[in-house]
Symmetry: C2
Subunit: 196 residues, 2 copies
DNA sequence: TAAATATTTGACTGAGTGGTACACAAACCC
DNA sequence: GGGTTTGTGTACCACTCAGTCAAATATTTA
């Protein structure tokens, strides 16, 4: 094609990961380009040359975050254990994430979806696509459980998946305010207990 | 006490309501003092004289929002109808709020709790207190239902209340991304169906 | 009317914002 | 080596941010 120029001194992936930390801690608005530069190690010129704008960098961060979360969720939902245990594992993984960081920064995707609800089509689209894919996998897992007889067919897989998803995200909202791991685990048990 | 000076030309309540609209649309960070002044009709001096800082004004907004929501929730939970219908009414009221505004701004308290999760003790405290009070009233309503025989005592009121609350807030997260009223109503029916 | 007090106004501050311009550096191809 | 291309570092841009302040104004009490 064309001759090469000076090679980049960084890997895009590493920069996106570093930027992710900033957006995760501060949210979108409160993350300044200056801090983004400091934490990624890039100068402004490099950062803007490579990513175009704060918002485009943010888009890549959100896509990567969603992809990682989705990969992990799908892995958990595919484990060779009872479906109820897979759903419990998904809950517990989320709780571990919520309480892993000392300043309980929660879930980046949920945080920014709420922060920018109704004003950022990119965020709505990205989070919406993520949700749809996650839902499909949850429905599939529950359907497996119904077919194998593990789960009663009193409710449809679709109904149960919806209940799971709303409870799953509600839990994370509650975690941001109540900050109590044991309480979160109680909610998980209640939810699974009522669902099955 | 002391002699009066020039009287205020505004009612605090009206200013807080106007500021609420701004924070609701934009979130905390993205609401500028300038827009706050324009929409409240106050000059900067008056606003700072009366409320001290953007953050203190925000605190009053959040308190007022929570109080209004709590009053309404308690009213709904006290209606002389079956408990299941009260919980359904609470769900539907929330959905109506989420979809009332054309740019679906959602729930102010949830939005800012997520936006400022882990970085704003005032928000955590205010939302936490609100949640605790709401939970108490939901538990009381469900206990009524259990005692009257409307609800089976297969699960405790505490368990069911937790499931309701997580599903309730999860629904609002999902609403911010999927933007589909019918879908939200389906989730409500699924949740109530599985719960009872 | 005059003193005392509280509120309003809007210009102003210093720091910080996202983003740009451009000189310079480092690679490739001939 | 030149010529081209791309990346980097930094000074700089116009603008916005939250917050301040002194002067003007409106009220009550004396």
């Amino acid at each position: 094609m064309s001759t090469n120029g000076r090679p980049r001194e960084f890997k895009d992936e590493a920069v996106i990961d570093a930027a992710m930390e900033v957006f995760w801690e501060k949210g979108y608005e409160a993350s300044s380009t200056q801090e983004l530069c400091e934490r990624t190690g890039l100068g402004k010129g490099s950062l803007y040359n490579a990513f175009g704008s704060k918002h485009e960098l943010f888009e890549q961060v959100l896509r990567r975050y969603s992809q990682i979360g989705l990969d992990r969720s799908i892995e958990i939902l595919g484990r060779p254990i009872p479906v109820k245990e897979r759903l419990r594992a998904l809950f517990i993984w989320a709780i571990d994430m919520d309480f892993a960081d000392p300043n309980h920064r929660g879930c980046l995707a949920v945080n920014v979806s709420m922060e920018r609800a109704g004003r950022d089509p990119m965020v709505e689209r990205t989070f919406g696509e993520y949700l749809q894919t996650l839902e499909e996998h949850i429905i599939a897992a529950i359907e497996d459980g119904i077919q194998s007889g593990e789960i009663s067919h009193k409710h449809s897989a679709f109904q149960l998946a919806q209940l799971f998803l709303s409870s799953y995200y509600g839990l994370r909202v509650l975690n941001s305010a109540t900050l109590n791991r044991d309480r979160a685990l109680q909610i998980v048990e209640s939810t699974l207990d009522v669902m099955f």
